[in-house]
């Protein structure tokens, strides 16, 4: 049986040359993400905003949303969202934070249960987050993201040169912004799980970028006089099969989760699927290419000693598919 090759051998895609297309696209995506974030905003869940969420089932009977709404409107709880989930047997009720501290939040559940009654409905999930706890969760969430970025920068800086660290962080910040744009666009609940999704994608994006960086460094050592942009192209091409393969296996896992993992993890996986696609693209099109701006090699080698490159690779025939000379 002949194995399937998703990426043909010895590709020589001129990734560096595609900057004219690539840069505007990724800038546009960033701008759109920011615009969405500042106009529509993310749909903060109760983890960060406080409030009450109740998942109510109708004992396998369809639930009449209008009836639920009219009962709850009578309670005058301010902003109340009622949304049917899964099938028509279940609704999700969200009540915004009530004025009057933690105890006022507690009464929401009692009031709703009293209004709907205990016989017709089944209270499958109840979550109440008080105003102070939500503030703290938002704060630790922010810290965790900053800590991850700092930790990653430090690691790359120790393991590689600082330029790689900056390039990696630029890439993962790009990915994080695009993910937040996704949350703003889809209005998926933005909660602790979403933050977990972002952090996981950050970790993955880095993983992808690091593999390419490793190769860049290896080629830099092996072919001391190859122009920087050729090095990047070569490294990206050589690792392309791996980058695509790994993304695909992870996407296989995520898609199974999305389809079969149930409604609770669906939004979590949806955002991660988007994140993995973005991370894969960014490590190919941004992580490596951005290194060109960080003068990894003294300027003179770039132009002056080009012939020596050919000499270098000629001594090892077929060792590396020599990239097409840049025109």
């Amino acid at each position: 049986m002949k194995p399937l090759r998703l990426v043909p051998d010895g590709t020589t895609y001129p990734f560096m040359k595609w900057a004219k297309v690539r840069t505007p696209i990724s800038l546009l995506l960033i701008v759109v993400s920011f615009a969405l974030f500042f106009t529509v905003g993310v749909n903060s869940g109760i983890d960060f905003k406080g409030g009450t969420v109740m998942e109510v089932g109708g004992h396998s009977q369809p639930i009449d949303i209008a009836e639920v709404r009219s009962k709850l409107d009578a309670l005058e709880l301010g902003e109340v969202q009622i949304q049917s989930i899964g099938n028509s047997n279940e609704v999700l009720i969200r009540v915004a934070t009530q004025p009057g501290g933690d105890e006022a939040q507690q009464q929401v559940v009692q009031k709703v249960r009293a209004a709907l009654g205990e016989t017709d409905y089944d209270y499958r999930r109840v979550e109440v987050v008080g105003p102070r706890v939500s503030g703290e969760l938002a704060w630790t969430g922010t810290l965790a993201v900053l800590f991850t970025i700092a930790g990653i920068m430090a690691y790359i800086w120790i393991r590689f040169e600082w330029q790689f660290g900056l390039a990696a962080v630029a890439t993962l910040v790009h990915d994080a912004i695009l993910m937040i744009g996704f949350f703003a666009l889809t209005q998926i609940d933005f909660n602790l799980q979403s933050l977990a999704a972002i952090l996981t994608v950050i970790g993955y994006s880095l993983n992808d970028t690091v593999v390419i960086f490793d190769r860049i460094r290896e080629i830099l050592r092996r072919y001391k006089q190859m122009p920087m942009s050729d090095v990047i192209d070569l490294a990206t091409n050589q690792t392309l099969a791996r980058t695509i393969m790994t993304s695909l296996t992870i996407l296989l896992a995520l898609v199974s989760l999305y389809l079969f993992g149930g409604p609770v993890v669906r939004s979590f996986t949806a955002s991660m699927i988007w994140g993995i696609v973005v991370a894969t693209a960014s490590s190919i099109f941004i992580g490596g290419p951005i290194l060109i701006y960080f003068n990894l090699r003294p300027e003179k080698t770039d132009a002056a000693v080009k012939p020596a490159v050919k000499g270098g690779s000629a001594s090892k025939p077929g060792a590396v598919p020599t990239p097409a000379p840049r025109g």
Partner: protein
Amino acid sequence: MLHFSRWKTLGIWAVIALGVLLCLPNFFSRETLDRLPNWLPKHQMVLGLDLQGGVYLLYEVDRQDYLQKRLRSLSGEVRGALLQEPRIGYSNLRETPNGVQLRLRDASQVELARQRLTPLRNPLSGSLLGGGGVEEFDLNISNDGVVNLAASEAGLNQRVSQIVSQSIEVIERRINQLGTVEPSIQRQGQDRILVEVPGLGDPARLKNLVGQTAQLTFHLVQSQVATAQAQTSRPPNSLPFVSQENPAQTYFVDAAPLLTGDDLADAQASFDQRTNEPLVSFRLNSSGAQKFGRVTQQNVGKPFAIVLDEKVISAPVIREPILGGSGQISGSFTAQTANDLAILLRAGSLPAKLTVVEERTIGPSLGADSIRAGIIACVVATVAIAVFMILCYGLLGFFADIALIANNALMIGILTAMQATLTLPGIAGIVLTMGMAVDANVLIYERIREERMEGKSVIQALDAGFRRAFATIIDSHLTALIAAIALFWLGSGPVRGFAVTMAIGIVSTLFTSYLVTRLIVASWARYSRPKTIPL
């Protein structure tokens, strides 16, 4: 790279066998496991509240409420201290938001007042800082005779910390009497308590049991009025308590209680023998019984109020002296509320009011749905990835699949052995790890292909592939680990479960996809001596 000593080979297989052994109990019922010999591992995975259903409650000590009560008793102590002979005249004794203030009539008694009041500053022993240098109150007396006893920040913090410890004990006693499985009650930070009770059908009852202060006191009743008029005419030295059954009724009772919950020896739910109504019968300890006997002897014909958390449950009239030290509390209970009150009285009262600041309740049916969905997703992901790897890498892909299955067993085995809590995001973490587990294999195989294309022999290419991919694998795993650690730190409950499975997965995939695959590939190369690599 392709040579493995016999011991190393044995060690690798032993680790996998151990992982399989540890993960096996999860596939059997509890009863089957109990019949097995004791030397076999029997731990099953600990399921998080989101998977088995249950209640997560985060309580916070209400500092303000505690301080208010403390200041009320402090002002009593101040009054008592100043009224000792020789008396110190004062006026305007009042409770400020964080202390007690008064004015001495005679400014020349400042020194005497200082002597009397200094003991009330109440040095707190057992300070964590050592030396017991913390005093609960700061005493400040101005020259013109204004006395200020203000709660110190450090003192209050220490008090709150003690309250948390005491409350945890009380809550443990209360929940244990419910007979539910393995509740977890933990301190969180300085003034919070996290209560997690799995598999409880009725969260409202739990909240009632845990959060109720359950301060029981008996008072002699001075008079009763309609609640609407209670503000205007309060007799001196009395406290107004509203009736539980009829909120329109207020009792004025003696401020000093006859008995408190501390005087109780036991409480049980039972039924009234004549009316068959549920009630709570109690027994006093010996000093309580003596006190109660004396008071009831002196006050036959008068009503006394049984007060729970500042509400009058009932106010029976003393018909005859109660000398035996036992009695009954009736007050329109149901069987369950009587039972719960008995539990509360036996377990003792909370030292301060607790407020729920976060609550998450998952019904058992939702949890069961989530487990089923999680298992299906796991199986589908495994099959999909396994097929994909075989399609892309043929025989070597099959080797990677063996490592993938070993990795699953190992992950579940480690999670089980550590008794780490598995949550729904945790299951997502396992599935995601499978996607990442084959990453190391992909890196190695792509590397082997490259080496082969550079003209190396089969053995050389295999060897170089494993060797040169290693640094990259370490890098990619470590960076993922950084993210997992941050997640662990960020998360509570479910998200933390995700971080734990990710972290374990990162370590176990390093083992399986690197060592195990290498071992299999090495054996294959040794025994079948391949002329080409099927990549």
